[in-house]
Symmetry: C2
Subunit: 340 residues, 2 copies
Amino acid sequence: MIRREASRGTGRPTLAEVAKLAGVSQITASRALRNVPTVDPENVAKVKDAAKALGYVPNPAARTLASARSQSVVVLVPALANQLFIETLEAIHAVLHPRGFEILIGNFHYSKEEEEELIRNYLSFQPCGMLLTGFDRTEASLRLLEATGVPRVHMMELSRTEDVHSVGFSQEDAGAVVARHLLSKGRRRLAYVAAQLDARVVQRGEGFKRALAEAGVLDRAVEIKVADPSSVELGGELFQALLNDHPDIDGIFFCNDDLAHGALFEAQRRGVPVPERITFVGFNDLPMSAHTVPRLTSIRTPRAEVGEHAARLLLQLIGGSETARKSIDLGFELMVRESG
Amino acid sequence: MIRREASRGTGRPTLAEVAKLAGVSQITASRALRNVPTVDPENVAKVKDAAKALGYVPNPAARTLASARSQSVVVLVPALANQLFIETLEAIHAVLHPRGFEILIGNFHYSKEEEEELIRNYLSFQPCGMLLTGFDRTEASLRLLEATGVPRVHMMELSRTEDVHSVGFSQEDAGAVVARHLLSKGRRRLAYVAAQLDARVVQRGEGFKRALAEAGVLDRAVEIKVADPSSVELGGELFQALLNDHPDIDGIFFCNDDLAHGALFEAQRRGVPVPERITFVGFNDLPMSAHTVPRLTSIRTPRAEVGEHAARLLLQLIGGSETARKSIDLGFELMVRESG
DNA sequence: TACAGTCAAGATAGCGCTATCTTGACTCTC
DNA sequence: GAGAGTCAAGATAGCGCTATCTTGACTGTA
């Protein structure tokens, strides 16, 4: 029988070969490539040259097995179907990938149960860090996260307690800003139209109603909430329903721009002048919102910035920094345009 | 000094513990959990019970290291910034995740060089399969893929040769269908407006022009191509430029719906009646296109179906099937709406 | 009864790295 | 100049699995 060069294994160069070529021990080569500071710079250069000459690429499985910690960061988002989290993911990637981290993306489709299963599954990969969306999850999820002690940063909302790290902005304040804006335009008969009722959508509504209460017009306000996923189509339907049931509504805050876009199309179709008869305000400021007819007033949310800062904060935590800031508030901005 | 239970390792139950509890050897436990058919069903039951009792979860790093093959499938897409590939990714996930595969998503931002780097990087994870977008990549990328022999399926386009597997539809035919539709509406002065010039966008344009040539109106056609990323804003700008330079254009084929949406907004703003003066046709049929004013005629592409079939085909290849179909044509559909 | 053939189960030996302990050369101090 | 302290480099021993070879019980045949 013919003797194979390698009956098992990948056939790719290994650390042992790099070490041999560099004339050092394997563990020194390992340390050199990981930039462990106790290695003589001369040896570091020899090892890195050897690695390059051989085209050596570390085997992540072996690394993970030996160190009981991977170079992966898990990011859990509630949806990929809209651009919101894509921009955040891109920003996270831009920070972490150049530093050698792999990113495992989990989409839990706004389901706490699905998120719990993802957490369970991804923890088996021994990630070195996790980026999570918000704070609203199952008890079991929380226990799993606490038990493993993997560094983590929560995105999009700000924590009220001091024991977790978060990067985001105040969803409630954003809702209140929208309310005050509509009031400043002389609107008094206001509505909050929401779908996909996650914690953040609810918080926006709370802030909105809080501000209306302060202005004494809450009793005349209307709230439409449906649990269905947001879509352009749903926005049109909800607008139509609202118009039928409450024809005197003069200002609407949509929980996101998708709904607002659908409502804009429907308003145009029905000949309802926006903003003359009804003022529209959206949320998230999707790129399209600056171009619709009329252009949509919306809350610009720092989606990319949240990803970037969360990733940087996580890097500090992975590096063992105790001085890392607990919470980073990145704020938001009301983009006032033609719709109100 | 206090003796630790485990100074290294994860602290989680291992296969050895499962085997001990089940009263079999470790390798039998390993085989039982992987459903290797040579194990006595009684032993399989004992092992699976023991695993459940201990809350055992396999360590993927150890698996990958020992078998030189991970349970990961790499999916490389040119963009995440629009919904196109998200739907494909969701469908892939729905097929592969329940079967225990992990999905590594790589976004190469329409850059062949970036794709090459991603391929290099992801191959170090020893994926058991790859799903790629199209056929247009660097020579080095091709060599890497060939050298490793990892099963792969190409998505979105159909291969012209018989040596690779592909799932998609004919981009050229889709372009030709649009051309014939516009001609059937009596339009003769036609334009193709394209951005983000990847291979598929070019193929659509080729099919469009081929059909115009067959109808003898190619010499009056206009083509606007820019390499910039597609966006709603760009669609408006390109429409405006087109209108200035060629005021007699009476039909436009946009290479994607984003551009068409932007042009629709711009047309409305400038009082250009669509479809009365100019007919618009988009591509991809994004969810919003059925709701714009006017509703957009577009080519509906089988994005989710491509993902699903590609994943299924890949599963066959991973399983060693030689009988797997080489190419699956899923077609497309012209959705005729108000814009033309 | 003896023999080859079959097959489930086990023993053994890694996969390619890194944690940990040890070594030995070198400094510094009194 | 002996002892303690420092520090880069190496030896050793796994991490938790699976590929591969081996074993031994069992079958069927002549």
